[in-house]
Symmetry: C2
Amino acid sequence: MNRHLIRQARGDEPADLVLKGGKVINVFTKTIEVEDIAISDGIILGTGIYQGKREIDCSGLYISPGFIDGHVHIESSMLTPTGYAPLVMPWGTTSIIADCHEIANVKGIAGIEYMLASAKRTPLDVFMMIPSCVPATSFETAGAELKAEDIAKLKDRDQVLGLGEMMNYPGVIEGDDDVHDKLDAFSDRIIDGHAPSVFGQDLNAYILAGVKTDHECTHAPELIDKVKRGMYIHLREGSQTKNVLDLLPGVKESYLSRLLFCSDDLHPHDILKQGHINHNINLATKAGLDPLSAIQMATINIAQCYRLDRYGAIAPGYFADLVLFKDLKHIKPDVVYKKGTLVAKDGKALFNPEPLLDATVLDSVHFEPNDFDFNFHLKQEIVNVIKLVKNNITTRKFIEEVTLTEDGDVVLTKTPGLLKLFVIERHHQSGRIGKALVRGYGLKNAAIALSIAHDSHNVICISDNEQDALVALRKIKEIKGGIVLASQGRVLDYLKLEVAGLMTNQSASHVKDKLESMDKAARRLGVSDEVDDPFLSLAFLSLPVIPEIKCTDRGLFDVTHFKIIPIEAGRS
Amino acid sequence: MNRHLIRQARGDEPADLVLKGGKVINVFTKTIEVEDIAISDGIILGTGIYQGKREIDCSGLYISPGFIDGHVHIESSMLTPTGYAPLVMPWGTTSIIADCHEIANVKGIAGIEYMLASAKRTPLDVFMMIPSCVPATSFETAGAELKAEDIAKLKDRDQVLGLGEMMNYPGVIEGDDDVHDKLDAFSDRIIDGHAPSVFGQDLNAYILAGVKTDHECTHAPELIDKVKRGMYIHLREGSQTKNVLDLLPGVKESYLSRLLFCSDDLHPHDILKQGHINHNINLATKAGLDPLSAIQMATINIAQCYRLDRYGAIAPGYFADLVLFKDLKHIKPDVVYKKGTLVAKDGKALFNPEPLLDATVLDSVHFEPNDFDFNFHLKQEIVNVIKLVKNNITTRKFIEEVTLTEDGDVVLTKTPGLLKLFVIERHHQSGRIGKALVRGYGLKNAAIALSIAHDSHNVICISDNEQDALVALRKIKEIKGGIVLASQGRVLDYLKLEVAGLMTNQSASHVKDKLESMDKAARRLGVSDEVDDPFLSLAFLSLPVIPEIKCTDRGLFDVTHFKIIPIEAGRS
């Protein structure tokens, strides 16, 4: 430790910066004291009474350690790290534990490297958990396949903390070699879990394999059971999945230090509207949790779980990551400091990082729409149909009778409401297309296509006619990824997601505005009110781990039996 | 993780060992559940309902994770690690965080290596904090001088966790180079503190330098202040220094996870009589602390502070270090398991490790008594005297008038109760002797000598006559270290401490019996009832960091002014 910092801490020399007389929140003792905070070289020297070369009067303001998101996929914001940081930091977020699972499915190691490099252009501390499940299943084609030896190479990078959420919990529990090779490679690091409704002996086996955290709890008994077995539990509040209020009855003082907050997936409009981790805190506080306990769950608890020694508290030696606000019951930061530097004021970021333009991630859409065969070539009229469930990403498997053309294609006009879904492999230009029939979405004389399609992020397209599908897909290719609406032979509107087909370097408000106007346009084109989000509900139609029936580039996927099935019902 | 363990955890194969139906203590949730514990390869696979190749009925017994001593000097037991482990493990201790500061002062790195190697012969997990202050001060001669580059070499050893208690807190706060070199060398490890009554900005500076723990708190406000600044606090209960009851008012649920138990220094008779860390738990429980909170402070809290991932809890993946007992309000273990192996039953160790006979540490007493000049050679009659304080290791500086012989020696018969104290450098055969006058000890026609003399562990000898002093010192040399009583020209009794002059490979009960009989003999020779322990009170007379006046091999030491002073009063 530099000797001049020691002299400043003991009060013999003035500190670089002193925040005077704020209501300082101590996350160790959960107390508030009016005192000064002395800061030099981005580090907190101590609290008490201090003189500084620069002094700022903070009377009347609470001062909390900067908030940490314990588990987040930046890609869900559709913004690159250089766009994401200015969006979340004004809400008090000063560090995040990111898992770049989405871009890794498109670009593998190069995608992870891009995220690390882009993040370094911002003041936000982006710590990385290396994606563990690329591809997510063997029933889809991702842009990369990451084996244990590939990801192990990233282990010792300074931003890397461990292994990202191990979603393949059946593989863990059943002793799958590839899965265990990855766990073993990271056995001396933190391993994040993902084990929805895994209990008892299965949970024991999962934890024994080395998994330390879980963010998939949906009710209090599940949380308690997992804490009991030694896990740290994230209480997640995302755009799609909201668990904080359901889990609050399970929050107890005796094991509060094992509980953390995270967002997992947040869309830009939600961040713009209600904030980030401050929203988790505010929600919990409003529901009756002591606000200092909530702040503890957003700061020191996460730092301890992930072994971020200098993060998450206002105490000597900690980084001066500080959030200043007036109302403890509804935190809306006035000012945010990152390592002693003012980074946001009154909701606005005071920095504007240059986007990283990396040719590799800007070139990720590889397919040839003109070659497509949209014909379903069916051999029977009784077919399996994906039926959407209202406001939900799960689906139901229905059986319907359709009318076929002579060469076996489906005549959609004969079964109103039925749509064609195409999942087009876009990484290796293989020409592979998965096809399915969907009911419950609603669309007329139109097509919607997007290059976000979990988890392999192929291009997904839904349509009631070939012409619009082709127009939409050609545009996707032209703009190198994004979301496109086409109707009656022309492109109505689009959002460019030029970075891996998942993110853009344009501003958060541009993304928000586009998504809102396109949502309205989609509704006008007939998308049902029962569909929560016209685009994300499509993006999840290819995710082969959510029940009951989905479609990947390899075809219709029966999640219950975990296999590809023919569209024709009753055949295997 | 071995696949067969995964299969056993999920219940598809029987575990090696299942403890059936015990009252299992969960230190995460602080709850007790009647359930089975499945164990294989020394690891807990899980709790719940399990079948085992071997099953043991534990109904009616509580099962706790093994206790951990968060900070201990093994040398204080006067037993080597091979003798210490069988002594403490029957009390439920399965791991310790040791700081071998004493032997390091005698033998440097070789002493530390000896402790590590000896500990490996036992089932006890001995984790090591590398001594930071050898020698403790520059006013005494130790057997070794350990610089930052010396101790840094041990940093990556698998038993080593960090840097031992940084007692030189003035050096830390004032920016001493040597001290900071050591702190910097261990900045990525745990650094233990030692900061009695350090508060405010000084404490901020001390913590800023990297110190993480403190075991010197003596009252609740001090504990709270240190927790607030981010420290982990040990509640110590040793033979000499007992803080648990004084600190209990400062124990709060909201920061319980930052509080740990330790013993620091325990003599063999106290361990034999009341136990080890179970005694801290029992004391706290008796005083009203929830026993599960107390157990948490003796298990998972310590493991978390020192980052011992698989220690301190009964959960999947944790080592099967288990303590079984009947009475939660006064823990006296029936049975102790270490990594799944039964190591103690009904208070008896079931293992008997072979002592490590290391020639280096067995040869540590180097001085020539026959060459000694016992004459004080004083130039005036008004002298500084060390006055003992009743039942305390602090002393007072008194001024007395003595009678001198023609050649300046003190005529003790003229000042009844006054004794001569000699501190003889024994590491480098330098012939250096520090001399002092002591009042308040009481001894007639006798001498007591010992090779335990904190912190440099030179040989200390108190006597009212030259002849007995010489006899005692010759015996110390002959037995290569220990404690000797001599009277009227012959050795009355002695305890051999052949390992570095601090420890023995003989049994704990031998040490206890010897110390008891020698205590009685010392009392018969006139040692005052105001002296708590005739031998340890001598051992602390050379410790130059305890007020008010002490004596090292370099002479009389004024602790208040932190310098060597002449025996003659008023001279400098």
